[in-house]
């Protein structure tokens, strides 16, 4: 589904990714772990096309398409979803309006008919309910006044409504208490653990992986993948730390 080959990327003038190669197949869940500053968030931003993140070398294909040639909204329409580490507040725009516009823009891009207001609300209610989110919150402006945990939960509701093929979830576990962590973990499994979907979990800690069991764990350090293993690798990292591993 996703092939990343020798990816180099700069933020400003500073090289962050330095030859990253990674391949994800449909039906797989991958976790990327690594110390602070390894380039984990940069990878998420580069894949989703954030301005200011410049690819200097390498390629990324997504279902056979050149991902890097697409605009951010085209990547979303092609089925890529980025769960933000810090979801952005947009005063004045309600969640409902935002999501409906987003979903219908993606459907339009794919040549599908837009959802009516009723159809959309049905999907929204379903997903919000599954993640224990009050419909009233969906009527409020996007992320404005939400707690850290509520923002992350909102990201999952969005993922459920948009139903992407590939989700890149950047530190989705940060800021969550244990109950919220379970809810979010269950959400990821329910929405994304399917034979035609894939997930790239970007995380610093092992704890989310107790709920979402990865098929592969990669260590990202110094802008490239330094080690790959199974779910056990995450436990090893948790026990020994990244320093030990680097030595």
């Amino acid at each position: 589904m996703l092939q990343i080959n020798n990816l180099h990327a700069n933020v400003g003038d500073k090289p962050i990714l330095k030859g990253l190669t990674l391949s994800l197949n449909a039906g797989e869940i991958h976790a990327i772990m690594g110390p602070n500053g390894a380039g984990k968030s940069t990878l998420g931003y580069v894949l989703s096309g954030r301005p200011g993140y410049e690819v200097t070398e390498g390629s990324v294909t997504f279902n056979g398409q050149d991902l890097l040639a697409l605009e951010p909204h085209e990547r979303a329409a092609a089925g890529l979803f980025l769960g933000f580490q810090y979801p952005v507040e947009i005063p004045g725009v309600s969640n409902v309006q935002f999501l409906r516009e987003a979903l219908n823009a993606q459907r339009k891009y794919r040549g599908e008919a837009p959802l009516t207001g009723g159809e959309f609300l049905k999907v929204a209610r379903e997903q919000a309910g599954a993640l224990g989110m009050d419909m009233e919150m969906l009527k409020r402006p996007v992320n404005v006044g939400f707690s850290g945990g509520e923002k992350k939960r909102n990201e999952m509701v969005q993922m459920g409504i948009i139903d992407p093929a590939l989700a890149i979830l950047d530190e989705t576990d940060s800021g969550l208490d244990i109950d919220a962590l379970r809810t979010v973990g269950d959400g990821i499994n329910r929405i994304m653990r399917k034979p035609d979907k894939a997930v790239l979990l970007i995380t610093h800690y092992q704890r989310l992986l107790d709920y979402v069991k990865p098929d592969f764990v990669h260590v990202l350090d110094g802008g490239r993948i330094t080690r790959t293993g199974g779910a056990d690798l995450a436990l090893e990292l948790e026990r020994d730390g990244y320093k030990e591993l680097a030595a």
């Binding site: 605009e71 909204h73 329409a77 979801p87 952005v88 947009i90 005063p91 935002f98 987003a102 891009y109």
Partner: protein
């Protein structure tokens, strides 16, 4: 005023004087007196390049609310001269949206002449092309107009280089027990917000429009014809983006 003003006149310093000359001399300002305890509301839609001048005296305990959508013509100007008596309240919500070579301006002089009056002005400008949008907003608090409470929020957004936003949020205060808070911000759309919208599949133009819509939203809150004003504002925004 009988002589055509020049840009040396403070109230006309950013005006399109040539356009003004064509409309000169102006008729006397419309005079509105809101009696004690009364209420007054008016919506001004300036969509054809005209100059609106209103003098509003708000009596004791009375309220007045003005909503302005300033969008049309080469030169459009809405000028309000408001005097508040004891315990009166004045609210202004104004949006101006300009493109091309338009010059749009809203000028307010709000005088708290007596104690205990409250006023608020919320003004949002969106400017594209080489348009000029100006807000000159003066709040004057007379000697002894204690317990005045005045807030002003002024924001402008430029969509193109060479569009111009001017603002003059002015305070003239002669009483000590007053609360006056003015805020003014001029900038561009939040880049991270735009990216977030696009990462959810919204096209750049739609994302921009959505953000601008949010930018002007709320200004028309409480207007009798709120829905119509929002729709008209969105239509004009759609033309610019």
């Amino acid at each position: 005023m009988t002589v055509l003003p020049t840009r040396h006149d403070e109230a006309w310093r950013y005006s399109d004087i040539d356009a003004l000359a064509r409309a000169w001399p102006l008729p006397a300002p419309e005079s509105i007196i809101v009696p004690a305890g009364g209420t007054f509301a008016r919506t001004i839609i300036q969509d054809s390049g005209t100059i609106h001048q209103l003098d509003i005296a708000i009596g004791k305990g009375a309220t007045a609310a003005i909503h302005v959508l300033n969008t049309g013509g080469d030169y459009g100007r809405v000028e309000l001269n408001v005097t508040l008596h004891e315990g009166a309240d004045f609210k202004l919500g104004a949006v101006q949206i300009g493109g091309g070579t338009q010059t749009l301006e809203v000028i307010t002089t709000v005088t708290h002449a007596e104690p205990g009056a409250t006023s608020s002005q919320i003004v949002r400008s969106v400017l594209a092309g080489t348009a000029t949008g100006t807000y000159l907003g003066k709040v004057a608090v007379a000697r002894d107009a204690q317990q005045t409470d005045s807030v002003q929020s002024v924001k402008a957004m430029l969509l193109d280089r060479s569009a111009t936003a001017n603002a003059k949020p002015e305070l003239e205060i002669y009483a000590d027990d007053v609360k006056c808070a003015h805020g003014c911000a001029i900038g561009e759309l939040d880049a991270m917000g735009l990216f977030y919208l696009q990462a959810r599949g919204i096209t750049p133009a739609e994302a921009k429009k959505l953000m601008l819509q949010a930018f002007v939203a709320g200004v028309f809150e409480g207007a009798a014809d709120e829905a119509m004003l929002i729709e008209a504002a969105l239509a004009k925004l759609g033309d610019l983006v």
